[in-house]
Symmetry: C2
DNA sequence: ATCAAACATGAAAACCTTTACATCGTTAGG
DNA sequence: CCTAACGATGTAAAGGTTTTCATGTTTGAT
């Protein structure tokens, strides 16, 4: 009994305090107005709160909240008054309070080893576009493959500042699963590279298929001795692209010559080194299929340095279609990754996960597109 | 009197509620533990709160907060107990609650017309690195020069989700100053392009000086007839670079030939168009100073198409040193923008503004660096 | 006319911190 | 011995939402 009474008085007290505060705000707002725009750069301006709006509209804050978030649930007339009050005060929901209450920040953290990577940026644009369209914000973390930084970024997750995670890194961030309390993985989606040894959903290009198409293009131009530059036993992407290459050759009943398959880690330097090695060994192809554009560039540089006339004497094909592919001489024939689309699909998938849906597939593979430029020619005299 | 009594009881009640809740959390945590890692992907896991920590350490939540944020203010023994409790629970401060209370989110919003722009990414890396080092997070907004999107991103500012703003856009975001309540500008710093008609602090490269150095380099190679490609009456960057070009010529007492100054908006296409125009008019320079690398690329493509031997017959110089500059044939001699440094300085300045400091300068200009490659040669027979 | 269901709104709890103020014990200075 | 100052800690308010539950009102069916 006593408790109940206390309660009631407590309520009253509280309510009065709120209204009073609301009035304070209004007064301050008017003052600020009178002062003109002088305080434009002032930092801790009092912004209008939901209470100010409620006071003006003559309703409770609950109603204001509903009018904004579930317009169908309030009477037309009330909604009109609230809308008007919002306009008058310039009210915007305080996202912090909202997130605190809803335990959801509507933010996505993107972890990438290097934001400057040309392969990265357009995927990022896609991610950002889709997120923004759906009312989410995008937080970026540039890890530079540094374990400390990766761990550090997890604070965004554990402190509720981000609801989900996009991984460009190809592995789970260090720092997950160390401490008992730390082991909580947020919903996440991998992009660019699949996360090894895990069931993290992946969105990316179909590397096997793309590489097969690329090889078939070379074959269609009459090439039979096609080198593959970029063999690797560790990089998943390289392995898939090599498999596509092999599949295409086998499909056309062309024997795979192991001397035409050279190691490479996907850097320009590795492309050049591999080419030089071929000349040293004197086992030459008529066409080079490179694991990516950067490698192809190395090959082209090496061939140009040896004064070969491209693409007459050698054809070179890349993969990815990164920005400089069209600027090299000869401009690079390659497979274009649908980066924008990859970003959009990945974000879409992540938001679905956040909404509690279980995706039907753990892997979304998009088609790459053959971009014909000038680095591949029909095989001629040679 | 009565009020006071009510108050006291209210407190007790509240306090009991808190402890009870804290115990609940602990129980749940143990349960979760017992269940193993099954709930790894579970979304709304209850995380440990400051109250759990307080309960375990046997202190009040205020003390926990102090132990974490102002370690000097609590006794050694207490601090030890709190630290231990934090470790045991895996507690992380809830950033939302913290931001709400402190009215500060420790987030910076970056507004850029196109995140994919090669000029952009390394500045972004610099911005991000510095922000992260100082405990700030970085939120990106890709506006695509769309007024609607720019306005839309302001919600991050007005909803307190970001404390400051980095502008790549060269203008204030649309939507500021429209409504009475909307006119509040957060602290901001411009980068890449200064914001016209405003006193927004700018961090960037010294375009005038850089362009002067570039021109002098061409002069030092014996060139006297130097074209400037990229004249503009609207773009501040173009205007500054043209002024640097003129200053260098005048410094060496070389007359400025207006027929050698051509319009250009900084795109590759504009570089090509300008070059073609020169051949049509038959007023030819020995060297092309281009307003940026993209323009230079257009010039090179055009000259290559006309089968000129570069750099023997024409020298071409760029500005920016974007990623493909070293891959073009001939590789591009250019002025390198210290992008990482620009990003770091800009973020440093913004954080200083946020801390309430008034910067001494409204403009931080960094030196660009001459990168000598193969597109410029000493003038020879011609 | 009666009752249930539907509808519109309000009250207050909950989300989790930080911090001004109060309290209490200890120490130093007079 | 008294007081002041100080150091360590606790109490509760404040920050601005969303949402459950309760309350009162209207509608519709019987």
């Amino acid at each position: 009994m006593f408790d109940v009474k206390v309660y009631t008085i407590g309520k009253r007290y509280n309510r009065v305090g709120r209204v009073w505060r609301a009035l304070q705000h209004l007064l301050q707002a008017e003052n600020a107005d009178a002062r003109g725009c002088a305080g434009a750069f002032l930092q801790h301006q009092k912004l209008a709160t939901i209470e100010d709006v409620a006071a003006i509209a003559g309703v409770s804050i609950a109603t204001v909240s509903r009018a904004i978030n579930e317009p169908g649930k309030v009477a037309d007339e009330t909604r009109r008054r609230v809308t008007e009050a919002v306009a008058k005060t310039g009210y915007t929901t305080n996202a912090m309070a909202r997130s605190l209450r809803m335990r959801r920040s509507n933010m996505i953290l993107i972890l990438a080893p290097d934001v400057g990577d040309p392969n990265f940026s357009n995927i990022l644009v896609g991610l950002e576009t889709e997120a923004s369209k759906r009312g989410y914000g995008v937080l970026i973390g540039n890890t530079q493959n540094d374990a400390t930084r990766e761990t550090d970024y997890l604070r965004f997750i554990s402190s509720n500042q981000a609801d989900g995670l996009i991984l460009f890194t190809g592995h789970l961030p260090y720092g997950f699963g160390n401490e008992a309390g730390e082991s909580r993985l947020p919903p996440m989606v991998a992009v660019n590279e699949p996360v090894s040894d895990s069931d993290v959903p992946f969105v990316g290009v179909d590397n096997f298929e793309g590489s097969r198409v690329a090889t078939e293009h070379l074959i269609s131009q009459g090439h039979r001795r096609i080198a593959f530059i970029g063999h690797s036993t560790t990089k998943a992407v390289n392995m898939l692209r090599e498999r596509g290459y092999r599949a295409a050759l086998e499909g056309q009943a062309i024997a795979v010559d192991p001397r035409l398959i050279l190691d490479g880690d996907g850097t320009t330097e590795s492309g050049r080194a591999a080419t030089e090695q071929m000349f040293v060994r004197d086992v030459l192809p008529t066409a080079f299929l490179c694991v990516n554009d950067a490698t192809a560039l190395g090959v082209i540089i090496s061939l140009n340095a040896r004064k070969y006339d491209l693409p007459r004497q050698f054809s070179v094909m890349g993969f990815d279609d990164i920005s400089f592919a069209s600027f090299v001489t000869p401009s690079l024939t390659t497979m274009k990754q649908p980066r924008l689309k990859i970003g959009e699909e990945a974000m879409d998938l992540l938001l679905a996960l956040l909404a509690g849906k279980t995706p039907e597939k753990k892997e979304v593979l998009l088609r790459s597109e053959l971009i014909v430029r000038n680095s591949v020619s029909r095989i001629g005299r040679e």
